[in-house]
Amino acid sequence: MQDARLYSLSAIFQTPDEIAHAAEQTVERGYTAFDVHSPYPLHGMPRAMGLKASKLGYVTLVFGLSGAALALFFMWWVNVIEYPLVIGGKPLFQLPAFIPVTFEVTVLMAAIFTVVGMLFVIFRFPNTSHQLHDTPYMKAVSSDKYGLTIQALDPLFDEERVREFLQDLGAVEIHRIQFDAEEIEARPRIFEPRFVTLLILVALLVGPSTYIILNHVLYMPPFDWMMEQQKINPQMKSELFADGFGMRSPVEGTVARGHLPYPFKGQPDLAGKFLVNPILPTESVLELGKKKYDTFCSPCHGNFGDGDSRLRGQFPNPPTLHSDKSRGWSDGMIFHVVTEGQNIMPSYASQIKERDRWAVVHYVRALLRAKHATEADLR
């Protein structure tokens, strides 16, 4: 019966009092698909328009509480389960020390989701091609006028009656807002050739440059300092001490706690012959060994002992552990290498406890066996 392209009749008012009155009258007449536009929020307008109170606060509540719960749970998991570390003799789960991070994560989640929920879910933004955009009506309410829009899809809408109604309320201008013809039959424009080309170009640019930065630039000078460090190594000259030695010997006749001399110093053959793994390869021992291996050994030896180092030339690649040579070694021999180091591989005695070193040995054994499984292993 009426123009299918009509979106709304939109009237402009001069003063806040007029628009407040107009909104009340519109509700009274029973219109529902209407809206009031003003350059700033008007006090009392939600009530005049008969709007229910905003429920945004519930979004905040839900996401804030989940932020708090997630943060606490995560810290508990890290500090108690995954990476237990005793600090200052305190219990692993230290609630007071977790409060700051819990609080921050709560605020972060609540703030982000309140705004995201409002803009993208409630308002359905971004929407830059609404019928009202780019109309003289929008330009007026954007600056200093107040507008009332009654949409054509309102069940009570009748163009003549609405026009009269708006005029009676004291509207200074009344605009007919229409759908654009192309808007009505708009298709998604994501597959437009130009846009697709742009996407491809961006991908071509971002992909390789990320790859180059992460895999090459970061390993070029001056970012490759791992080998050269400003410290005094054992054989280096020291300017600090009178005798000029960088290496200091302990006070005569003393042994530091936990530093009983390793009996097979410099004697790998004897170590291989006499040292026996004192612990059994239970599941928990293997878990422990895997963890220590992944932390301390995998950067050089690779995750599976193939010698595929992640350091990319910052440190010489070690040989594979799956060689016939090292597969033939006894546990004691591997323990010896970890304890003393071998050629350029440094000693791990000070970083991994003795028991943990034996666990690593079990894990290395498991790796070696996994790569050379026999029929019998499959059973």
Binding site: D17, T60, K90, F103, A111, M138, S143
Partner: protein, 456 residues
């Protein structure tokens, strides 16, 4: 003697400007070609920024050994500047969030600018811990993420709390700021005649339509954000102070630190906002929107927080004596009389003595006087952080391991650079975005609200 009627709020915006003139006043400088003064300013700040960049390049190539830090003073300018800049940022949140919750309507004129300052100051602040790590390209490890090494960060460390606090603070401030900007971008979009600007503003405004169905949620969101930003800002400087207070260094290990740091942050932040606004209102000719009353109110906040800081200085000395702890007592003697006494007394004079001049109404309302005092306050507050960080570290328990800290020129270069970054960002901001919230100011002009049915 005349009586003032305190039951009626004085108008926030002087006169009763027509709403469209507010658009004009605030938007004109954005649309106009930059003036010569602006180019001179950005040339200066750009140069400062480049000095900082060059100093940073030297640091990256040769390592943090280029700085003055060494045993025993491992925290030098980097941490001093970090605390200083975070503090500057706090005034912005205080103005935009706390004063909002307290229904101080005078904040509308200055909130936007102060928020922008917050964001830029936090950017400057965030730079310092990142370079302080020595190998900034490995800073990704500051965030907890599942890595092949099976390593996790230590959640009980105040330094980790800092990472969370500062990054949350930055994110929430940026969101708060952007939410405030959306309606203004829409107004800009509807005014502009340039095609490119139209596209940019359309995207930035996300398609805002000034609909009252939206305004309702929008106001609620703003209230919620303000409600969160308020405890957040207090938490951030509290956590920054934990970096010190949770350690056992004499002079740091005190419970007064959190409130003392927060008060100091607000103090220096307000001084900075006041200084910047004096310039902005002049250049923009918006003296009727950012009025002398605003500046006076800020000066009042400065005298309050300045006295809190002064109280903290005194209390520290009292407790040092009262505790009977010899290391603690020594640290405070050392601050006032030791090799860094000049820094200590600079701090006291700038922070405690000069702001007292604000008791006089004449000085509170005199632009040159308040400008100078504002600058002095920021000098003083920078030295406060210097005194805290450096004196405690240079002489703690063991006299055999005492040392003396002298910054290198690279330290100074980076400090200059951080100011360069701050001013450059501010200058770009005032040229490209409305420095005063257009929609908020319109809402507080006299006669802008319906005369009945409103809830005032």
């Amino acid at each position: 003697m005349s009586f003032v009627d305190y039951s009626v709020e004085p108008p926030v915006v002087e006169g009763k400007p027509p709403l469209s003139s507010i658009d004009d006043a605030i938007i004109k400088p954005i649309d106009a070609k930059p003036t010569k003064a602006w180019f001179v300013a950005i040339a200066v700040s750009g140069t400062m920024l480049l000095i900082g960049a060059a100093s940073l390049a030297v640091t990256f190539i040769f390592g943090v050994g280029m700085w003055g830090v060494n045993q025993p003073v491992g925290w030098g300018f980097d941490i001093v500047n970090f605390v200083f800049w975070v503090g500057i940022g706090h005034a912005g949140t205080l103005i935009s969030a706390i004063l909002f919750l307290l229904r101080q309507r005078w904040r509308t004129g200055i909130a936007r600018f102060a928020e922008a300052m917050t964001i830029f100051a936090v950017m400057c602040a965030g730079l310092f811990p990142l370079i302080h790590t020595g190998r900034p390209w490995l800073d990704g490890y500051l965030m907890p993420y599942p890595n092949q090494h099976g390593l996790w960060i230590n959640f009980t460390s105040p330094l980790v709390w800092d990472v969370f606090a500062v990054s949350t603070y930055f994110t929430v401030s940026a969101i708060f700021w952007y939410v405030g900007l959306i309606p203004d971008f829409a107004t800009l979009r509807d005014r502009t005649v340039s095609r490119i600007k139209k596209i940019v503003y359309s995207i930035l405004s996300l398609g805002w339509r000034h609909s009252n169905r939206h305004w309702q949620h929008y106001e609620m969101a703003y209230l919620i954000l303000a409600g969160f930003a308020t405890p957040l800002v207090l938490s951030v400087h509290t956590i920054v102070s934990f970096d010190f207070a949770v350690s056992i260094i004499p002079g740091w290990h005190t419970t007064i630190f959190p409130p003392y740091f927060v008060a100091g942050a607000v103090f220096s932040g307000f001084a900075m906002v006041q200084n910047m606004l004096i310039g902005i209102r002049k250049i923009y000719a918006i003296e009727h929107i950012i009025t002398i009353d605003h500046l006076e109110k800020m000066n009042k906040i400065m005298i309050t927080t300045g006295m809190m800081v002064g109280y903290a200085y005194g209390m520290e000395f009292f407790i040092a004596w009262y505790s009977g702890n010899s290391a603690e007592t020594f640290v405070f003697f050392n601050r006032a009389l030791g090799p860094y006494a000049w820094a200590y007394w600079t701090m006291v004079i700038c922070n405690v003595v000069f702001p007292q001049l604000f008791w006089f109404k004449k000085i509170r309302r005199s632009i040159p006087a308040m400008f100078v005092i504002g600058v002095l306050v920021n000098v003083g507050m920078w030295f406060e952080r210097f005194v805290i960080v450096v004196t405690s570290l240079s002489r703690d328990y063991l006299p055999s391991s005492w040392g003396f800290y002298v910054p290198s020129i690279y330290d100074i270069g980076i400090l200059i650079g951080s100011f360069g970054l701050f001013f450059t960002l501010l200058l770009l901001f005032v040229k490209s975005m409305p420095v005063v919230s257009i929609s908020e100011v319109k809402g507080v002009v006299e006669g802008a609200q319906p005369s009945h049915g409103g809830s005032h």
